[in-house]
Symmetry: C2
Subunit: 738 residues, 2 copies
């Protein structure tokens, strides 16, 4: 059918439209009112700090990425001989160069989307603060549009990048068609995850070290309020929101969308071969399918942005939810069109005489439903009105120890509903896929796995919107900080406080979403790894990898090490926050001591020096966990072989997803238990309010501080680690084959 | 060879000798001086509380066990038809009755060893406190001998129980020989783990709820010292040491030794068949081997007890270590004799012309070396003089939040060396086993797996000694409490304080040991499960289970649920401590309020009421986590089948071992960071000591309290959970086969 070929043009059209739309949003945000002089002053200080950090961080990352590209190219040149190459004709130098180029393009695109998104978000902060002086709805719109710039850029650059390099390789390189190209572009995903790992680690360490350090030395030691201008660490804290939450999460989701698209395309090759053998029309549609779905998701999000509106007295969360539901419903329509047009199985029909495309459409709907489920699960566990947060707040009455014990119990508990939801989604999408009766020439049913891939694609359709909501978080957080710092009107601070609370929820939602998509995608990427290994084994006439056998001692050992890695990596990330925070505390203390005018506002603290110290310390601290994350799977793969490393990948993913859930949700619940107490909801035995300044509040602050590095450093870094394991093993598979 | 048959008599001889020796030790302890009237008074109060709890707890457990035996018998009767029975001739009622009997015998033996051990340990407390008034060495000996009663009874009852039921079934039941019997006695292991689960959960919840509750309401709220007689919760706290640490850990290790012996015997059947086919002498020696090794371990420990002696000014840890090294070295000799005599491979030699028995002897030495390695690893992470504990103490200077963050980082970090040590031990023992060239008739090398089994057996040779050291902990802890409570002489309290610190270390060591043996054993029990499934599959002519394929969606889902289960179970256990502690706090507060004479010693607090409330609450709270632990593997097995449940078992074990490591070592490090500060080792910037009463100490107390339910409730309960998963799947395998 011609329609299926035509639909492929949705990919560049949607991608470019989204880039243009991001430009329109950026222009809309940038031309808005920037508020009072005091606001502009603090905003420009934040801007300088953020730019200084990002410049140094991305310089470091760029150097690491170029070095990594050379090493990867070299290793592939040496290892990927004719014997073990995906495309034997390209063995040696050609495949090494193509992988290195894909790696660098992926790394560069990830860096670009991170930098631009961060730039706009820093500019949106002050404009949100200024808008809050006039109107809640306007403030919501400014923050959401600023966030959407990141969202659109990340998703469209990932889409255009994968599509571009795929098209380039399949069109211009001899011997490479649509069948081979997916295997050759895995370097793009690896490059993206490599950058994401260091972006998330460096930003995550920076933001939480600054937060913890500034709070401990300001609120606890000196007894001045949060975001008070007398605290020399407060600008570093505000800078941290931008470099950690914005740039870090942007890189994380860039990498998700890239890696999972490539994985789905590799699985699409299996369907392509079936379609070719059976003579179905448009076999290559199966390979392009993931990208087309993503394109529809972008278009749905563009429409949805215009639905973010409401009344002044409305809960801002409702406005954001409205847009989310529009995105979801339009995505269902897009999915229906795509599966109907592109999944033509000729005369073959699925179970019960129902066409295959309907089964796959339903699998995609399972993915979208999973995304919705996680939005509500995360709200239940981390929002103030439900049992878990209340339980932690109640436990705060007997001090910090019971607050911590209760928070850990809640964090552990959240794994149950998370795991069960993922299990149901995987099982359902796999079952639906099996009903499509997609059987390859060897007689294996590949529909089940492809069903899980379609579910992942369905889930990821809303990524741009989710990411916009996520970036809304740090923008409003900063806007609140700017309002407080510039001693803005009470009414404006009330509005930014409301937005900040909503931002906390949206940030938590994104993490739940990222975790759920990582788990669905794990299975997909794992299957892609097996496909790649078997492509190589077929080429060399070696026995296929049909099973990753946990009863094999090497696989078991690798699985044990994979599960250990997520703890050890988290330990390094958490300790890095502690070490960096200590450096900040020492410096702020010094300024209080040596500059006595700070406390009565006659002397301006040296903010820049704290920013500089934080920057150096965070960048130094990000290297060790990053190197451990990259080196462990490679070492295990070389020592124990390609089957064992698959065990490391799978069990490491399971362990990483669960530990990230514990850290993210535990941290979110602690944060909101503190807010619950501050809002005056906790009562003592006589019905008196236990609010700010009580022992219970102090206990809740301890929990909140403990949760900070959990939910904003270690947890999000684990998302990246999990996907990095998948892309490393995909790219370096030839190195592990014995 | 006649010698190999003769050596089998070591099993009953060593078992009975150990029982008699335990009787001698008990008599020796019981006839010692019981101190002052005040001491006897508090000791008898503790005794009453402990007996009351144990009576109610074991009544509940007995009811649950009988109900479980009926259910298991019924299920096996219905499910284990001729088609899926291990021994087809016994299908239906006979096998159901035999399994139910084995279950009940295992449960009863476990309960007996727990009750007797606890009884002696409660009696040893006051005698240790009395001895401390005279001599350090005498106090060490009383506590160690009291602990050794538990150690010997647990190991010998487990050995005699397994041997007895094995001999009974293989001798008196028609159609059952040594080849079939190992499969028929797995019910014994299940019964033992069933009891251990509830004993450890109930005791663990009791002990930490009492500890946390009494500390919070006494030390924090009322400002009176630990173990002060005015605190109505303090007797419950002292009772808790006995019912949690003694009875709980005893049940845990009873179950380990039973389950792992049976698993090793099942693997021995593989070697037995090879030996039979090849006509080697004494094929049944391969099946008896694990029990003989255990017998030698008991004899080694009896000798070692006499080496626990030293000078008055010596570090008590040295005296205990001396005995440990004697046990280890004698165990090496025992292992050498056993492997040499029992592992006769006729004309077949292993790699490089070295006899098979030498390879297996070396595998056993790997196990003993692993045990030694864990003793030192645990010391590094939880003893006061090394980096991790110091790091936590330093972090306490900036308050409870940084103390907690630092402790979590240390806890996570400990997984690295744990996992690597286990990986090396598994790899080495598997490799050594492979060198023995033990090839079965189907051409499969079974030596590798058998090597890991021999390593596990080697490691477990020192169990009785380790358990004696472990029980030394609560005995000295209680002795300290009694000395404090009865306001004993300063010199006696100094000695009990020193012993208490050593006891903390030995308790931590045991947990490291239990975890390491659980990991080695996991592989062994997992292989036993596969052997059992394949025995059934062979009988019914169905395809064998040759692989547990992680790439299969059902296996992946089951693995995810297995890893989730350990978090969810821990969450329930930790929450149970919090709930129970709240009940204690409310009651002690009420007594302070309504009985004003307590504070000036004119009124005696109602200790019994607190004990009673704690007992009821702990028993109520142990049911839910216990039921979740038992029900989850059964549900997954029924829904997803026998291959998937193997995935749950393996990945659940990996996740459980690592999470238990985090909880045990994190908790231990927090505890010792507090002690480090109390000992005056922490200095501020000006070199002044930051000791008791400082902010830093208060922060460290928070960490210690958080660590309590981690290291003494959730962590140890996870050890049991991991082994319960293995015994459940072993017993109910026929239920899961499709």
């Amino acid at each position: 059918m011609v329609l299926a070929s035509a639909l492929q043009w949705i990919i560049p059209i949607a991608g470019l439209t989204a880039v243009i739309f991001a430009g329109y949003l950026a222009r809309d945000v940038l031309r808005r009112d920037t508020g009072t002089d005091a606001m502009r002053d603090v905003a420009s200080t934040i801007y300088e700090g953020a730019v200084a950090f990002i410049r140094r961080q991305y310089t470091t990352i760029a150097i690491l990425a170029v070095a990594a590209a050379v090493v990867i190219g070299g290793v592939i040149y040496l290892v990927e001989t004719r014997d073990v190459a995906d495309v034997p004709d390209l063995a040696g130098a050609p495949i090494a160069i193509m992988t290195a180029i894909a790696f660098l393009v992926g790394a560069a695109a990830s860096m670009a989307s991170g930098i631009i998104g961060m730039f706009i978000s820093v500019k949106s902060n002050v404009r949100t603060a200024a808008a809050a002086r006039r109107s809640l709805v306007e403030a919501v719109q400014v923050a959401m549009r600023g966030g959407a710039v990141s969202g659109f850029l990340v998703v469209s650059l990932s889409l255009l990048g994968v599509w571009g390099i795929f098209t380039a390789y399949s069109t211009f390189v001899g011997g490479v068609g649509v069948r081979e190209a997916p295997f050759l572009i895995v370097g793009f995903g690896f490059g993206a995850s490599f950058v994401a790992l260091f972006a998330q680690l460096g930003g995550g360490i920076y933001t939480k070290a600054a937060d913890v350090g500034a709070d401990l030395v300001g609120k606890v030691e000196a007894g001045i309020p949060e975001d008070d201008p007398r605290n020399a660490g407060v600008i570093a804290d505000l800078v941290g929101d931008n470099v950690g939450d914005c740039a870090g999460r942007g890189a994380d989701l860039f990498e998700s969308t890239a890696a999972e698209n490539i994985g789905a395309m590799i699985l699409g090759v299996g369907a392509f071969l079936i379609a070719q053998a059976a003579g179905w029309p448009n076999p290559e549609a199966w390979i392009f399918f993931p990208l087309v779905v993503r394109g529809f998701g972008l278009l749905a999000t563009i429409v949805a942005i215009f639905f973010v509106r409401g009344r002044e007295d409305e809960d801002p969360m409702n406005m954001l939810n409205r847009g989310y539901w529009v995105t979801t419903l339009l995505s269902v329509v897009g999915l229906l069109i795509t599966t109907n047009v592109m999944m033509n199985t000729g005369a073959v029909v699925g179970a019960n005489g129902i066409p295959a495309w309907i089964w796959f459409f339903l699998a995609g709907v399972v993915g979208l439903a999973t995304s919705v489920a996680f939005v509500y699960i995360t709200q239940y566990y981390t929002a103030g009105s439900w049992r878990p947060v209340k339980e932690i707040a109640e436990a705060s009455r007997t001090g910090p120890a019971t607050n911590i014990i209760s928070g850990v119990a809640v964090g552990f508990e959240t794994t149950a509903v998370t795991a069960i939801t993922i299990a149901v989604a995987l099982f359902a999408s796999h079952w639906l896929g099996q009903q499509a009766h997609l059987v390859n020439t060897a007689g294996h049913d590949v529909g089940g796995i492809f069903g899980t891939a379609v579910a992942t694609m369905g889930m990821l359709m809303t990524t741009a919107y989710i990411l916009a909501m996520d970036t809304f978080g740090p923008i409003t957080d900063n806007a609140g900080g700017i309002a407080q710092f510039s001693r803005s009107e009470e009414s404006a601070r009330e509005i930014t406080d409301r937005l900040d609370a909503v931002g906390n929820t949206t940030k938590a939602l994104t993490k739940g979403y990222a975790i759920a998509s990582a788990s669905l995608a794990a299975f997909l990427l794992f299957s892609a790894y097996i496909d790649k290994v078997n492509l190589i084994q077929t080429n060399r006439g070696a026995p296929l990898l049909t099973s990753v056998n946990l009863a094999d001692v090497s696989v078991f050992i690798a699985a044990l090490i994979g599960a250990m890695l997520v703890y050890f990596f988290s330990s390094l990330a958490i300790r890095a926050v502690g070490t960096t925070a200590q450096a900040i505390i020492v410096e702020v203390r010094r300024q209080f001591r040596e500059m006595p005018g700070i406390m009565d506002y006659t002397q301006r603290p040296d903010y820049a020096r704290v920013v500089d110290i934080t920057t150096r310390a965070a960048l130094r601290q990000m290297v060790l966990p990053g190197v451990v994350a990259v080196a462990t799977p490679i070492a295990v793969g070389i020592l124990l072989g390609h089957e064992a490393v698959a065990g490391l990948l799978m069990v490491g993913t399971i362990a990483g997803v669960l530990l990230a859930t514990v850290l993210n949700n535990g941290g979110g619940a602690w944060d909101n238990a503190k807010k619950y107490i501050e809002a005056g909801h906790l009562l003592d035995a006589d019905g008196k309010v236990l609010g700010k300044g009580t022992m219970a509040h102090a206990a809740a602050v301890v929990g909140d501080t403990v949760g900070d590095p959990f939910k904003d450093t270690a947890g999000p870094s684990l998302h990246v680690l999990v996907k990095l394991l998948a892309t490393i093993t995909l790219v370096l598979a030839p190195l592990f084959i014995r």
